[in-house]
Point group: C2
Chain length 258, copies 2
């Protein structure tokens, strides 16, 4: 399978390295940032790098557009006409975002949070596939199975909600970790004090539903503790408002139904 | 060490079992719920159970009051006079909550989320210790070290903030998992779709700070995606408000400083 990778960010890098480990590295890396393209290509046996549209290999089987959601259409518009399939990796973009630029299109969406410095076990990442026809879906599924045990189909509409749910379960939870780190720092407590708690909270929902796993003063409707916490947050009105809103949401979920 | 356990909930149960595995099971379990007391005591070699104050063993070294924060004072008031140390396990209660009821007092606060059905590795749970004098602190530290690698001292005031930070990092993040599960269910997506993402998000902050680990549209200030998500949440005004508030908080943390 001749794959051209368009992009050189975290997701592009992790996906290219996983394909390479599976014995099918991209044959070319195209990026608007020439230096990034060269750096990534140097890690992929046999791959070339370019930042120029006219140097793009035009007869590959698959062009994987691994660029950020907001850059997708600009990048697609900049690519020359090619053979093969164009598939993007952008959670919040419909497949049809590629429609004006190419005929045979699809989506290849690995649902994970990627950081440049951190290795992830790609084989456990679910990859969500969509294609403009069944042959595209089959080809993207076969590429997905090279690097993951968990390749699934979903529609553009489902993917929107998947991405939205991921923002809650990943980006927002990480922000709550960040707020808790600030609280620890401001009160002379070691920054890793909550690490075992964070690990256990995430481990629990690998086995049970989050509604079963819920604990804490809002779940118990322990108004004494809730009031005490709101008082402690008086000097931090933004955090106080977050506390109030999430506690109300928990009480609504578990409290007596009206 | 002769320990009497007061309480029979999740924290009491996990702590008693850990003490038992360490070769020092509580010698008695007292609980307002007689059935729970009997069930827990039956798992502890040599332990008796009671729900009656007059049957409490009165010459133990340590009375561990492992009851919920809001029940603590009622339970302490119901106990007869004894020798030894009284220590409570309630994150949001100051040590001095026990002062009206006993002289030699302390706090033994294992910072973790406990569920009845789920085993936890107690040895990795940090235990925060406080005592009315240095001898109490030393005794509680030695009990803590029987079951955990991580025994620390903190003041009542620090523990308040620790507990508050734990609500953000555990109870609120679990609630965000619960909201994301509801979104998946409403759009025909498998309930475990986000499990690898949740695991990775928590694993990242075991190694780096949460501010370094932050990703997502709010961090990138990707207003297109933010607007799209807010639109999807139109039918769910509570979730929309949570989305808006947490995204604003993220943008404030990472955006250009005023």
């Amino acid at each position: 399978m001749r794959i051209v990778l368009v992009g050189s960010g975290n997701l592009a890098t992790r996906t290219a390295l996983a394909l390479s480990e599976a014995g099918n590295p991209p044959i070319q890396v195209w990026s608007r940032n020439a230096e990034h393209a060269v750096r990534l290509a140097s890690m992929l046996p046999g791959a070339t790098a370019t930042d120029r549209a006219e140097e793009l290999i035009c007869d590959a089987d698959l062009y994987l557009l691994a660029v950020s959601d907001h850059a997708l259409e600009t990048v697609a518009a900049a690519l020359p006409s090619t053979t093969g399939i164009w598939a993007h990796t952008a959670g919040s973009m419909p497949m049809d975002a590629l429609r004006p630029y190419h005929e045979t299109i699809g989506v290849f969406y690995p649902l994970q949070t990627f950081s440049r410095e951190r290795r992830v076990d790609y084989s456990s990442i679910p990859i969500y596939i969509e294609g403009s026809d069944e042959a595209v879906v089959r080809l993207l599924e076969s590429v997905g199975r090279l690097i993951s045990r968990d390749v699934l189909r979903c529609t553009s509409e489902q993917r929107l909600y998947l991405h939205l749910a991921a923002v809650f379960a990943c980006n927002f939870t990480n922000h709550l970790y960040a707020l808790s780190e600030q609280m620890l720092a401001e009160h002379g407590l070691p920054p890793r004090s909550l690490a075992p708690l964070i690990a256990e909270t995430a481990a629990k929902v690998q086995e049970m539903s989050a509604t079963e796993a819920q604990t804490g003063p809002a779940k118990r409707d322990d108004t004494n503790t809730l009031q005490k916490h709101l008082g402690l947050l008086d000097p931090y009105p933004d955090w106080q408002e977050i506390y109030r809103m999430l506690s109300d949401s928990i009480r609504k979920m578990y409290g007596p139904k009206e």
